[in-house]
C-alpha cells in the first residue's frame, strides 16, 4: 500500500518520520529469511519494480553506448575510485560482458535508475539494521556504487567465491548484497545464470530453483558462496542484465586537475599566497591599496 493510499484511507494518518520509515515488524520475517541458520540466506522482493520501470531500465542499459556518459575504468580497477570520481565503464559495446559503475555524487545517466538505486540502498540498510543513509556517500571512506552488468555469454562469468573470506564476516555480520534483476532467465538469456549457496549449505539457481523475473530484487547474505555461470543469449536477446550494489573503498582523494593553470591564473594564485604571509600583510597589501586609491 502506498503512502498516498494510506493517507486517503485513514484521516488520522499523517506524514512523519515514523510513517515514512520501514516498520521494524515488517523487516522481521525478511531478516529471518536472510540471517537465520535455517533461513534461505536470500530474500526475493517480487515485482520490486513495476513493469514500466523495469522495462525502461532494461531498455536504457541495453542501449546505452559505453562512452556516451561513462569514462573507461582505469586499468587498476576499483582501487582507483575516489570521492567525486566520474562514472566508469568496462568491457566492450558488443562483447560478451560490459558494466557501468555509477556513483550517487554524479549527475545520473538515468534518473530512474538513480532513484531506484537509492531506494534499494535505503531498504538494504534498514534490513541490515543500519542507518538509512549508510554508504550512500563516502562519509566513512566507503560508498555504494550502483553497477549495471550485462553478460551476453560466458561459461564462467563470475567464478564461484565468497565476498567474505574465512571468518571475515565476524567484523560485519549484518552485511548483505543486493541484486536487482533487469532481465529474466529463459526469456532474455539461457543457461544457468546466478547460483547462490543457502544458509543450509545447498545451492539454488535463480530461474530454475527460485522463480525470478525482470524487476525482482534479491537481498542475499554477503558470506554465502555464489557465481554466475553458463550464460548464453542470441542476438535478439538482451542477455543477463542485473544491477549490483557493491560497497567500494572510496578515499577522499582530491580530483586530479583537469588542466594546468594558465599564466594569468598562476600569477593571481602566487599573489594570493603572498598576501596571506605576514610580510604580505604588512608590506604588499598596503602597497596594493595605495595603488588602487591612486587609480
Amino acid at each position: 500500500m502506498t503512502v498516498a493510499e494510506l493517507d486517503a484511507r485513514d484521516a488520522r494518518f499523517r506524514f512523519d518520520f515514523n510513517s515514512l520509515a520501514i516498520p521494524e515488524d515488517v523487516l522481521q520475517p525478511i531478516r529471518r529469511d536472510l540471517y537465520h541458520s535455517q533461513g534461505h540466506g536470500y530474500h526475493v522482493f517480487r515485482n520490486f519494480l513495476d513493469p514500466r520501470i523495469a522495462a525502461h531500465m532494461q531498455r536504457f542499459w541495453s542501449e546505452l553506448e559505453l562512452t556516451h556518459v561513462h569514462e573507461p575504468l582505469p586499468a587498476e580497477g576499483v582501487k582507483m575510485l575516489f570521492n567525486g570520481c566520474p562514472d566508469y565503464y568496462y568491457g566492450t559495446q558488443h562483447g560478451d560482458h560490459r558494466g557501468y559503475l555509477n556513483f550517487f555524487w554524479n549527475h545520473p545517466a538515468d534518473e530512474v535508475s538513480y532513484a531506484v538505486a537509492m531506494q534499494v540502498q535505503w531498504l538494504r540498510n534498514r534490513v541490515m539494521g543500519r542507518t538509512p543513509q549508510d554508504d550512500i556517500f563516502p562519509l566513512h571512506g566507503r560508498s555504494v556504487s550502483y553497477r549495471t552488468v550485462i553478460s551476453k555469454r560466458g561459461k564462467v562469468v563470475t567464478p564461484t567465491h565468497r565476498d567474505f573470506a574465512a571468518d571475515e564476516w565476524i567484523r560485519e555480520p549484518w552485511r548483505l548484497q543486493a541484486t536487482l534483476f533487469l532481465s529474466a532467465p529463459g526469456v532474455d538469456f539461457t543457461g544457468d545464470g546466478f547460483i547462490l549457496e543457502t544458509n543450509r549449505g545447498d545451492h539454488v539457481m535463480f530461474g530454475r530453483d527460485v522463480p525470478i523475473a525482470n524487476g525482482d530484487l534479491v537481498l542475499w547474505r554477503y558470506c554465502n558462496e555464489h557465481s554466475v555461470l553458463n550464460v548464453e543469449s542470441a542476438d535478439d536477446q538482451c542477455g543477463f542484465i542485473r544491477m549490483l550494489f557493491p560497497v567500494e573503498e572510496v578515499p577522499n582523494r582530491q580530483r586530479p586537475p583537469l588542466r594546468h593553470a594558465s599564466w594569468p591564473e598562476m600569477r593571481v594564485q602566487i599573489l594570493e599566497r603572498l598576501k596571506a604571509t605576514p610580510l604580505g600583510q604588512r608590506v604588499l597589501v598596503p602597497i596594493w591599496h595605495r595603488i588602487r586609491r591612486r587609480r
Binding site: 520509515a21 537465520h36 542507518t131 538509512p132 555480520p173 549484518w174
Partner: protein, 210 residues
C-alpha cells in the same frame, strides 16, 4: 558455557534484532566485564547493578556467580532484555535475577543498595546532562565503598554526535574532550573518580568509589 555468534543471531532474530558486531564480540567483552569486576573485588555475596545490561552478556557470567537475586540489570530497550532472558534460559541458568526496562536511571526501583555497578558502552551513548543524571542516581543506591566501573571515549569533535542506534533508536554521544566532567561530578556528589589504566578492547575505563 558460551554461545557462538550464529546461535546468538538465530535467537536475536526471534526478537527482530539484526546481526551486529556485539554478537561476534560477545565473549571478548563479556569476559572483560566479568574479569575487571572480580579484580576489583566482586564476591558472590555482593549485589551488582548492570547499567545498559542489554542481552545479558555480562549477566550470563555474573548471575550464576552471584547469590540469587544479587544481579540487577537495567536497559531501555525491550527486545534486548527479551533476548537476554532467552540467553539465560538457553544456558540453563536457573538462578533468580532482576531486570528493569527503563532509560531514566531508576536504579532505586530495585529497592536495594549495590556493592558494584558497571556500565559498558553506556556513557558513550549519553549526553552530558544524562551522564550527570546517571551519576546522581547511582550516588543514591551505592553502598559506601561501592565501586562503579564504566567505559568512555574522549573525542571532542567525533561526528556524528547524534546518531541512530541500529538505524532506529535516537542517541547522543557526549563528545568529551577530557575527564573533567567525571572529576567535577565526583567533587559535587562526593565520590572518588580515577581514570584507570585498565586495558579495554576499544574504550577508556573509569572507576568510581562511593
Amino acid at each position: 558455557m558460551t554461545l557462538d555468534a550464529q546461535t546468538l543471531i538465530d535467537m536475536a532474530l526471534d526478537v527482530n534484532i539484526a546481526p551486529s558486531t556485539w554478537f561476534t564480540q560477545w565473549d571478548e567483552l563479556g569476559d572483560w566485564q566479568f574479569d575487571i569486576l572480580k579484580r576489583c573485588g566482586l564476591q558472590p555475596e555482593h549485589r551488582l547493578l548492570d547499567i545498559g545490561c542489554g542481552p545479558l552478556r555480562l549477566g550470563a557470567l555474573a548471575i550464576p556467580y552471584l547469590d540469587p537475586d544479587h544481579y540487577c540489570g537495567i536497559d531501555p530497550t525491550g527486545p534486548l532484555l527479551a533476548l537476554g532472558r532467552k540467553v539465560i534460559d538457553r544456558l540453563g541458568i536457573d538462578r533468580r535475577y532482576s531486570l528493569l526496562q527503563s532509560g531514566a536511571f531508576e536504579f532505586g526501583r530495585f529497592g536495594v543498595q549495590f556493592d558494584f555497578a558497571i556500565a559498558q558502552s553506556v556513557i558513550t551513548h549519553l549526553s552530558e546532562a544524562q551522564i550527570t543524571a546517571c551519576f546522581s542516581a547511582l550516588k543514591a543506591v551505592m553502598r559506601p565503598g561501592g565501586r562503579f566501573i564504566f567505559t568512555y571515549l574522549l573525542a571532542r569533535h567525533a561526528a556524528p554526535l547524534g546518531f541512530l542506534m541500529d538505524g532506529v533508536v535516537p542517541m547522543i554521544r557526549p563528545g568529551l574532550a577530557d575527564e573533567r566532567l567525571f572529576a567535577n561530578l565526583a567533587d559535587r556528589l562526593g565520590f572518588c573518580f580515577v581514570a584507570s589504566d585498565e586495558p579495554h578492547p576499544s574504550q577508556k575505563v573509569g572507576i568510581c568509589t562511593f
